[in-house]
Symmetry: C2
Subunit: 441 residues, 2 copies
């Protein structure tokens, strides 16, 4: 008995057969005595098809019009799913983002939810309806439709769960939950029963595609209990929740590899104050998300500044940085799209030292060269050659005792001094000095 | 210089190439110094595809959900067309029916426009924008999307033209205008320069598919000057307007054939008062549009009652009528789907007699049997075997001097007593007594 928000992604509702399967699951959730709000993505590849169509008439389509266009995908799928529920005898009603009371800010293509007025949803829930909400969209103060960006339906679901004080927000996916590593890469990877919001956030920003960061942040801020479950069977999934005492016992919760990285290097920059600031101000102005930053000063006061950005932001980065080469008197500019970021994530790191050393050691013993490093309180990331990424994940997964069937890693020394954490992203730093190695069985 | 409303149908915007062509025409209309509001249908077969998808999950989809689903087709095409305009450097903005201020009543699938608040459209027009409105839809008092029924985009265009006091409402189609008869059937058929609202209404309800009756009624009620023009070239089309003195000189404006007719006959009904009323009350209750009605009383006080309905309403008609067979003590019930209605339409009929005689005479001489007749002030319709329909149209087109290159028909006697007209539809009557034949050259 409770109020469930269930979010179904595009592949779960790709065609009529999928729609009917999803409808049966929703029916059963309601029949078990729950109220159900459903958030649905566009069917299958609809969004991509709409984007392709737009590009046929205009290579740089206007953002407001793109939003109006793309939002139709979710509107259509919410209506179809509602019809499928009716076919099962379930009382159901579809709602656009607007009808669901979702108000967003004025930014097109990546709007942020400002308020949700759940009155109409509540009224229909109380009348026994399943309410099927078109994900990914809301109305802005100009009465225009704005979308929340890729994966925005996850955010819609979490925001609705928060507004409705739902007991649980289930994200139904074509995977069984959150895994210790990508099971397509690591045969020993296994599903996690639970993960903390912070760990999930780190994994999401490190290339794990299971949940959108914004949705997890939203869940964390409003204490929404998230569950990632399979849309294909009905086994329990992975709970994303507040940290509990037990959860710290596991040092590494998950390992992620992000191959969507590119590195830019400004060569031979005279090491004067303010140079880095100018570079990263230009990046920020171009809406580029800089991730890792490394700066090495040589004896001659000449430095190379390297940083990573998502591959699809490299063109923007080039436009932003190239005019600066002369200004900062750099000797050149170099790009590298052949890198990957591999990250270890776990709240247990906060109280266990030696993780970084063990990671670097394992990679070195496997002849994988580390090019950049960045860390947070619960994460260590390294940039390596892209071709080594999968092997690195496998090696680390085994080394930290995470392979299926193996016992969990135990720390060598409890309550070692907490690793000094650097703020996530845009943090120029060297390898953190870790002395004690975490022992694994 | 003026304010134009242009409506483009689905086949005019079927793909990116079509969209770009339409965009160029809109640009040129604006460049000629006009303000332009565009109403657009869903691209190509989108609406049919959405309906087919809905039927896959539910054979009898809920009407509210169908409206939400179908409305997405026009939303998408309005955004795409707007992007195509941007690509030409034209300032343009898309609007959903809701954003365009179109409020409709609560009837789903065939909503009626109640009010239009054109404030937002006007504001953007004054700022130099082309405003592209999603046709076929509006918001009802429950804040739900409701559609206007098939061809509803024509109605949207006319209603917007009325609300904006536009100088002209152009309906762009894949035909050159309104023809004297279907040019695919009659080689001598030619495009009309102008036609009255009433003639257009009669032709539309007699099977000419060029314009929707509701749109024409709306135009008539609000004095909107309509123009049917080709979307493929830029020659003048056909003006649909108030009757002018000149227009009465043409006796027959057009000939239409409607093959979407079915006939139902109640056999051997005792001729007691109220029987017809019961039958047609049942039809009205089942939302069946009865067209022609014929009742023949025999000497024995036994009558056969026949009436025609659109073919796709025959199933509903059967459900409504079959329970009545016993109640009115009819001896049987007979259906005939093999009929067609052929109609002559022209405001000139009002002042010229002999049209009916000439029509019946021509058909008889060509061995085409007339099964039913109905008339209005400016129309004569006959029901005949479906297989004769095309031939009947050709014969009549020639007989009334309408073939291309021929001189117009001249009346034999001016100001002959006006034909007594019967109300259109549901009017049981025999052949109108016409004495004088209209002479043609």
């Amino acid at each position: 008995m409770g109020l469930y928000v269930q979010k179904y992604g595009g592949s779960s509702v790709a065609d009529a057969v999928c729609m009917r399967r999803v409808a049966r699951r929703i029916r059963d959730t309601q029949a078990a005595g729950n109220q159900v709000v459903v958030v649905v993505s566009a069917m299958g590849d609809t969004t991509d098809e709409l984007i392709a169509l737009a590009k046929q008439v205009n290579p740089e389509p206007n953002e407001r019009e793109m939003d109006s266009l793309m939002a139709t995908g979710e509107m259509a799928s919410s209506a179809i799913l509602t019809m499928a529920l009716h076919a099962l005898g379930v009382k159901a009603i579809s709602m656009t983002g607007h009808q669901a009371g979702i108000r967003v800010d004025g930014t097109h293509l990546k709007a942020k939810i400002q308020t949700i007025d759940p009155k109409r949803i509540r009224r229909h829930l109380n009348q026994g309806y399943v309410v099927v909400v078109a994900g990914f969209q809301g109305t802005n103060p100009r009465h225009d439709i704005a979308t929340l960006g890729r994966g925005g339906s996850d955010t819609t679901a979490v925001a609705l769960a928060a507004a409705l004080k739902a007991d649980r927000c289930q994200i139904l996916k074509d995977v069984d939950g959150v895994f210790t590593a990508n099971p397509r890469v690591v045969t020993g990877a296994h599903k996690l029963t639970a993960i903390t919001y912070d760990e999930m956030l780190e994994l999401a920003s490190c290339g794990a595609e299971v949940l959108q960061s914004r949705a997890v942040e939203f869940a964390k801020n409003y204490g929404v209990v998230l569950e990632v479950v399979s849309s294909f069977h009905r086994k329990p999934g992975t709970l994303v929740q507040e940290e509990t005492k037990d959860m710290e016992k596991i040092i590494i919760r998950g390992i992620a590899a992000d191959k969507n990285q590119a590195k830019a290097t400004l060569l031979g920059v005279p090491d004067t104050p303010g140079v880095a600031a100018r570079i990263f101000k230009a990046c920020a102005g171009a809406n580029v998300n800089v991730d890792m930053i490394v700066q090495n000063v040589s004896a001659e006061g000449i430095t190379d500044i390297s940083f990573t950005v998502p591959k699809d932001e490299l063109a923007r980065t080039k436009r932003a940085i190239e005019p600066l080469v002369k200004q900062v008197r750099a000797s050149g500019l170099h790009y590298d799209e052949d890198i990957a970021k591999v990250s270890l994530v776990g709240v247990g790191m906060k109280s266990h030292s030696g993780v970084a050393f063990k990671m670097f050691d394992e990679l070195a013993r496997n002849k994988i060269n580390i090019e950049m490093i960045s860390t947070s309180e619960i994460k260590i990331s390294v940039a390596i050659r892209a071709k080594h990424a999968d092997r690195a994940v496998r090696v680390l997964h085994r080394a930290f005792g995470m392979d299926k069937g193996k016992a969990k890693a135990k720390p060598a020394a409890k309550k070692a001094p907490a690793k000094k954490s650097a703020a996530k992203k845009t943090t120029p730093k060297k390898a953190p000095a870790k002395k004690a190695a975490a022992k694994t069985e």
